[in-house]
Symmetry: C2
Subunit: 260 residues, 2 copies
């Protein structure tokens, strides 16, 4: 923090859109810890990954919802929101970035597709302590009572300890009542992939179009993974880095013969 | 490959769109090595990151361009294209996925925003040897003569040696004539970020909108990075992984006290 007598400046965003129940819950918790500014998408932006808007314009609208909170909706992606917040909206760099609470799981390989987590990763790239929260309940009416308690505990630790350099946290919360949550597990991302299928349908003119659907296939039996933790009613906390270099592979590739 | 007497099945995609000069050049090179299938966006999809289309429909159109090549354009993102190819279009899993050649750099932190590289990462998640190629020239009329030679050399190695498990390759090519390219460097991703700015403009009704612009700020002086290699006229090859876990941070986070 720039001034020790200032309350932490907390930026809140998400990918389900600024009116979603998950971000409303997260704003409530964030208010306990600092001055809250919200820059979030004006419409659902799930599965937008780390997309930014370069081929189109962006609009930003100030909205008034919660007393004492500054809120802006944006026509762009979650990462656009983070960039607009840092470089256009906020008067100083935030001390903490919170993304979510997502309606639905962002564990395992979903970290790649998730707008919620990409916003947190963008925060990490910018050197801002950043946390993404997700509840394993897709429904719009999901109950965030337990999630708020979990978020409070994680935020308290993050403000006290900081977050490991060049990482952000991916926090997933099992969809069970608070009393049934067994604790918090620090995990690695489980190795899984989406077995997709494309449902063909016909439009009124008889032309075929597709909807993507899929099943997450987990082929990782490790008990140190986020999938395992969540299946066993633990909260999973995965430190996520933006350096994608596979350092272990450097040597092997150095042995290649490039005849150029 | 499923049958040893078959030519490799090569899937080609990109993010600049199916008509871009870069993918046309890559298709020419790919044809030398195997049976080529193209599933690529029907419009520019730069900076779409790992986005997939879940809130809208997808359309797929067979197009005829190059003799002996099966081509489909898709209304979705580069990652949508890879998923449609694997789960809808191709009769068997491809032996190689090639993405690009991108018009513009995808080194350093750009790997996160790049549709070209996200397509390659998606291939890696699916267990398919995958390579993204990018030329450091944004222009639509970029000259891919040198890039084609580089792509040929990398593909030859990839087919002979395979690609390290759970990784894909991020190949960036300096924008200089072939004779000035000094060789190939296997690198790590340089630590950099985009210092963004948002240009405000007014629409005809007087309402403000923004265009994102920015400067890449490299604060990594390492000579083992892709930025260094490219600045010194080397081709950079970075192995990219989809496990985003910051394993080094697990211990520190295990020391946190979660009072839940």
């Amino acid at each position: 923090m720039e001034k020790s007598n200032e309350r932490p400046l907390i930026l809140v965003t998400n990918d389900d859109g600024i009116t979603a129940g998950g971000i409303r819950s997260l704003i409530e918790v964030a208010k306990e810890f600092g001055d809250v500014w919200v820059v979030a998408p004006d419409s659902p932006q799930s599965a937008m990954g780390h997309a930014i808007t370069v081929h189109n314009i962006l609009r930003l609208h100030e909205v008034k919802d919660v007393e004492g909170v500054n809120e802006f909706s944006c026509t762009g992606t979650p990462v656009d929101c983070v960039k607009l917040a840092i470089y256009r909206v906020l008067k100083r760099r935030p001390d903490l970035l919170l993304s979510g609470i997502n309606h639905g799981a962002n564990n395992s390989i979903n970290v790649l597709y998730s707008g919620t987590m990409s916003a947190a990763v963008e925060g990490a790239v910018e050197g801002i302590p950043s946390i993404g929260f997700s509840l394993l309940d897709h429904s719009a009416a999901a109950d965030f009572t337990a999630s708020k308690k979990i978020a409070r505990a994680v935020i308290k630790n993050a403000l006290a300890n900081g977050i490991p350099e060049d990482t952000c946290l991916n926090v997933n919360i099992p969809n069970v009542p608070y009393e049934e949550i067994k604790g918090v597990r620090v995990c690695r991302q489980a190795k899984a992939f989406w077995e997709d299928s494309f449902q063909p349908r016909k439009d009124p003119a008889g032309r075929i179009y597709y909807w993507i659907t899929g099943n997450l296939v987990n082929h990782d039996s490790g008990e140190d993974t986020d999938v395992w933790a969540l299946e066993n009613n633990f909260v999973s906390v995965v430190p996520v880095q933006y350096d994608l270099t596979a350092h272990r592979a450097l040597k092997e590739l150095n042995d290649w013969k490039y005849e150029i």
